[in-house]
Structures are given as structure tokens and as C-alpha cells.
């Protein structure tokens, strides 16, 4: 019982870190991307739509690992494999 509570506590921390680090990374990435996009558009306004399209492509690429992390974090929250491993071991020991 105690070991399961321990694992769940660690999982909560891990999920928080995954969400936080993902948000941190993408925030910096989007900030840089947005800044450069605005600079480029200010220099050559006629390239605006083309630059915007390319900017969205990079948005999707930046988002990728963040969302993968979020997917895993939600998986750990609702169907924690570490807890089920311990439960299997405990039921095998009894």
C-alpha cells in the first residue's frame, strides 16, 4: 500500500515536470519564431502570407514533442503502468 502511494506521488511530480518543461520549451520557441516572423514581415510586407504559412509549419514542428510528452503524462495519470507493475508483483507474492 505504501509503495503504491509512493509511486503515485512520484508520478504526480513527473507529470507536473513533463507539462511544465514542455510548456517552457514551446513558449521560448514560439517567442523566437514569432519575433523573427514579425521582423521578416516588417522588412518585406509582400512576403507576409508566405511567411505566415511557413511559420505555421514550424509551429506544428515545435509542438510535436510537447504534445507527445502531454500524451504520456496523461497516460501516467490515468493508467499508471508503474502502479500496475507493482500490483502484479504484489499479487504474485501473495
Amino acid at each position: 500500500m505504501e509503495s503504491i502511494a509512493h509511486i503515485e506521488a512520484m508520478t504526480v511530480l513527473a507529470v507536473g515536470i513533463i507539462f511544465g518543461m514542455g510548456a517552457f520549451g514551446t513558449a521560448i520557441g514560439f517567442g523566437l519564431l514569432g519575433g523573427r516572423f514579425l521582423e521578416g514581415m516588417a522588412r518585406q510586407p509582400e512576403l507576409g502570407p508566405a511567411l505566415l504559412g511557413r511559420a505555421f509549419i514550424f509551429v506544428a514542428l515545435l509542438d510535436a514533442v510537447t504534445f507527445i510528452g502531454i500524451g504520456f503524462a496523461l497516460f501516467f495519470t490515468f493508467a499508471n503502468p508503474f502502479v500496475s507493475a507493482v500490483q502484479q508483483l504484489q499479487s504474485a507474492a501473495h
Binding site: 505555421f56 509549419i57 502531454i70 490515468f78
Partner: protein
């Protein structure tokens, strides 16, 4: 979201119920090919037929005169994909633009199904006796990996077709470190092979997981918003606080729907563009 509140189901059970696939049998072990996620397969086939039928009808009725709204829309989609393919693909192939169009439209239709209310189709299916239903095929790892492994096979096929089998395998040894001295190149080759192999395998995996992660996270937030809404259900409409709560969760649901639709469009577009980029890299002659 309002359509069904199974009395007595705890939040955890509700979430797990919405994360379970409709399977023909339970898998033994991690890799069992006789287990089929019937709901994902059904919806992906239905959407493929819908996409094929729609575009075929547009092609049959196409006129060179002033286009109607339907033809205009289809032409816009085709030009959108075609302009990006022309930008990116430097080889010569008649397969690439239709492939990109198919991938883009099909994956976008997958992602667009996420906008339907969470309990709508599963509720209808439940009334018909079906226990679980997940309607968005791109939240199924099998579907997304099926797409990306097909792209990997195409990359290998194009690589071998354009560069020959020897050239295709040689590119693993010759990048990223290229040295003129053949002896030094042979020494560096193992390092090159490891690095190139890792980045080669990273492509289909990242392609699949990017789409899966985005769509799964979106669906998860929908489930959580539904849980928020269903906490009080229709009984919440009895008080002013309940009305505020209901309206607030409704606005939240609508806002997230729009955002998720946009993300779905973007991810479908990215999948198609990256496919074209990888195939373009596979088809060019390194000299």
C-alpha cells in the same frame, strides 16, 4: 457532452471508458495481430470512401467555365497541396502530389471527427448494444503507425528506385561525415551508420507520434471538459451558480473545439508536407 451521464460511474471509470477501443478480442501480450480495433478501422474506411467519393464527384463534374462553389472548394484544396509540393519536391514523380493530397485530406477528416460531441456517437452505439466506441482514428496508435510505416516503405522504395540498392545503402555510410580519403571514410563509416540510422528511424516515429500526441491530448481535454460539465448535469440548472457553471463549460468546450479543429488541420498539413520532404530527400541524387 450533455447527452449521457451514466449514474454511479466514477470519473476515473468514465475516462477509462472513453479511452477503451472496441476490439474483436483482447490481445495476448504486446504484439497480437489478430486483435483489431474495429471502431478505428470502421471510421477510417468510411472516411476514406467519403473523401474518395467527394473528390471523384468533383472530378466528374468539373467544368472549364465558371466553377460552382463545390468545384471552387475542391480546386482550392488541390492548389493548396500542389503549391506546397511544387515548392518542396525537386524530383520527378507523378505519385507525390496525389499522395500528399490523400494524406492531407484523409488525416484532416480523421482529426475533424474530434469536433463531434464526446458522447454523441458512443451514446448512439451504446443504445445499439456496442460497449465502447472511439471515433477518432488518429488517436489509435495502430492507425498512425500504419500511415507512417507506409511512408517509410515509400521512402525506401523511392531511395532504391532512384539511387539503386547500393547507392541507397551507401548513403548511410557517407553522411554526415564525408572524407575524400577512402581509408578515413571507412574508419568513420560505423559512426555515420549509427547516426544516419537513428535519424532515419526517427522520421516515421516522430511523424506518427506527433499526430498521435496532438490528437490524443485534444481528446483528453474534451473528456476532462465533459467531466466538468457532467459533475452537476441538468440538476445544476436549478440555481444561478449552476447556470453560470453550465454556460462557462459550454464556452470552454466551444473554444477548445475550435482550437482542436485548427490543430487537426495543421497536423494533417504537417504530415503531408513532411511526407513530401522525406520523399524529396530520398529521390535526389547526391553528387
Amino acid at each position: 457532452m450533455f447527452l449521457r451521464h451514466v449514474a454511479g460511474e466514477s470519473p476515473n471509470e468514465y475516462i477509462l471508458h472513453h479511452l477503451t477501443f472496441l476490439r474483436n478480442k483482447s490481445p495476448n501480450g504486446l504484439l497480437d495481430f489478430s486483435t483489431v480495433n474495429l471502431d478505428s478501422v470502421f471510421f477510417s474506411v468510411v472516411l476514406a470512401l467519403a473523401f474518395g467519393g467527394l473528390f471523384y464527384a468533383a472530378a466528374r463534374r468539373a467544368t472549364t467555365g465558371v466553377p460552382g462553389k463545390f468545384q471552387n472548394f475542391i480546386e482550392w484544396v488541390v492548389e493548396l497541396v500542389d503549391s506546397q509540393v511544387k515548392d518542396v519536391f525537386h524530383g520527378q514523380s507523378k505519385l507525390i502530389a496525389p499522395l500528399a493530397l490523400t494524406i492531407f485530406c484523409w488525416v484532416f477528416l480523421f482529426n475533424a471527427l474530434d469536433v463531434l460531441p464526446l458522447d454523441l456517437l458512443p451514446g448512439v452505439a451504446g443504445a445499439a448494444g456496442v460497449g465502447h466506441l472511439r471515433i477518432v482514428p488518429s488517436t489509435d496508435l495502430n492507425i498512425v503507425f500504419g500511415l507512417s510505416l507506409t511512408v517509410l516503405l515509400l521512402i525506401i522504395f523511392y531511395g532504391i528506385k532512384i539511387k539503386g540498392p547500393v547507392g541507397f545503402l551507401a548513403q548511410f555510410a557517407l553522411h554526415p561525415l564525408r572524407i575524400q580519403n577512402p581509408l578515413a571514410q571507412a574508419l568513420v563509416a560505423p559512426f555515420n551508420i549509427v547516426v544516419e540510422f537513428a535519424s532515419f528511424l526517427a522520421r516515421p516515429v516522430s511523424l506518427a507520434l506527433r499526430l498521435y500526441g496532438n490528437m490524443f491530448a485534444g481528446e483528453m481535454v474534451f473528456i476532462l471538459i465533459a467531466l466538468l460539465t457532467l459533475t452537476y448535469g441538468f440538476a445544476g440548472l436549478a440555481s444561478l451558480g449552476g447556470w453560470v457553471w453550465t454556460v462557462a463549460t459550454l464556452i470552454l468546450g466551444i473554444a477548445w473545439s475550435l482550437f482542436d479543429l485548427f490543430i487537426g488541420f495543421l497536423q494533417a498539413f504537417i504530415f503531408a508536407i513532411l511526407t513530401v520532404v522525406y520523399l524529396s530527400e530520398a529521390s535526389e541524387h547526391h553528387d
